[in-house]
C-alpha cells in the first residue's frame, strides 16, 4: 500500500508535461537548475518549482556543487554501491587501525 501511495505521488508529479520533460532530461544527465532552464521554454523559477515537486515525490535528489545544486535521479543502484563501499572501507580501515596499533605496541615493547 505504501508503495502504491509512493507510486501514485510519483505518477502525479510526472503528470505535468514540463516535469515529465525535466525528469527525462535527468534520466540522461544530472543537471543544475540553470542548465535545465537554458534548454527549456520555461523560467528558472518554474524549473526550481518543478524540481521541488519531483524531489518531494522521491524521484530526484540534489547535491551541492560549489554554489550550484546538481539534480539527478535518486540513483538507487549507485547509492547501494556507495553504501556498500562505505561500509566496506569503515570495516577495512577499522581492522587496519587495530592491526597497525598492535604492531606499534609490539615494536614499542621490543625496544
Amino acid at each position: 500500500m505504501t508503495n502504491s501511495v509512493t507510486a501514485v505521488r510519483a505518477l502525479s508529479a510526472l503528470g505535468d508535461p514540463s516535469r515529465r520533460t525535466i525528469f527525462e532530461r535527468l534520466v540522461a544527465n544530472p543537471a543544475a537548475v540553470g542548465d535545465l532552464a537554458r534548454s527549456l521554454p520555461i523560467t528558472r523559477s518554474a524549473v526550481s518549482q518543478h524540481l521541488r515537486v519531483l524531489k518531494e515525490a522521491g524521484l530526484v535528489t540534489e547535491t551541492p556543487d560549489g554554489t550550484r545544486r546538481i539534480y539527478r535521479l535518486d540513483p538507487a543502484g549507485i547509492a547501494a554501491v556507495r553504501d556498500w563501499l562505505d561500509s566496506q572501507w569503515v570495516m577495512a580501515l577499522g581492522a587496519f587501525g587495530d592491526f597497525a596499533d598492535a604492531e606499534a605496541d609490539a615494536e614499542e615493547e621490543d625496544q
Binding site: N3, S4, A7, V8, A10, L11, V27, N29, P30, T63, D65, I70, L73, P75, A76, G77, I78, A80, V81, R82, L85, D86, Q88, W89, V90, M91, A92, L93, G94, A95, F96, G97, D98, F99, A100, D101, E103, A104, D105, E107
Partner: protein, 157 residues
C-alpha cells in the same frame, strides 16, 4: 556529473612509514577474512609495490580474484589504487574508480590515515540498470495507478 566520494579516516599509533608499509605490504593480514570479494576467504591480498602493479586476493587454492591496480605509488605518504570491481563486485578492466590513501603524521604522534574512494559515477552498469528499472517502474506505476483509480468509491468519479 559526480556522485559524492566515500571519505573515511582513522588514526593509528604507528608512524606514517610503518603505517604505509603495513597497509600495502600486509593487507592480507589485516583485512578480515571472509570480508572480501572472492568466492572463498582469502589466503592473501597482494598489492604489487609499483605503478601498474596488480591488486588482487588469492585464496587457499591459489585462485586469484583481481581487485584493480596501483595508479600512484609514493611511499610513505600517498597511494592511489584503481578499484575495478563493479556494482556486482565483478572485476571489470574497463572500469577505474580511484581510491586515494594518504598517511600524514598526526598531532601527538602516530598517523592520520585518510581514504577517499571517488569516481563513483563510473559505475555505469548500475546507472544503466537504474535507467532500465525506471522504465519498468514507469509501467508498474501506470498499472498501480490504474488499480488505485479502480478502487476509488464511485462517488469520487
Amino acid at each position: 556529473m559526480t556522485i559524492a566520494p566515500v571519505r573515511r579516516s582513522i588514526h593509528t599509533k604507528a608512524p606514517p612509514a610503518r603505517a604505509f608499509e603495513i597497509f600495502t605490504g600486509r593487507m592480507g593480514r589485516w583485512w578480515p577474512r571472509g570480508r572480501t570479494v572472492g568466492q572463498a576467504p582469502h589466503a592473501d591480498i597482494v598489492l604489487e609495490p609499483h605503478v601498474g602493479g596488480r591488486w588482487f586476493e588469492r585464496n587457499d587454492e591459489g585462485r586469484e580474484t583481481q581487485w584493480g591496480k596501483v595508479l600512484v605509488w609514493e611511499p610513505p605518504v600517498r597511494l592511489v589504487l584503481a578499484w575495478q570491481l563493479d556494482g556486482e563486485k565483478r572485476y571489470d578492466p574497463e572500469l577505474i574508480t580511484e581510491v586515494e590513501i594518504t598517511f600524514a603524521p598526526a598531532d601527538g604522534g602516530g598517523t592520520e590515515v585518510r581514504l577517499e574512494h571517488r569516481n563513483l559515477e563510473r559505475f555505469r552498469k548500475n546507472r544503466d540498470a537504474w535507467a532500465a528499472a525506471v522504465e519498468s517502474g514507469w509501467t508498474d506505476m501506470v498499472r498501480i495507478f490504474g488499480d488505485y483509480l479502480d478502487r476509488l468509491p464511485d462517488a469520487e468519479e
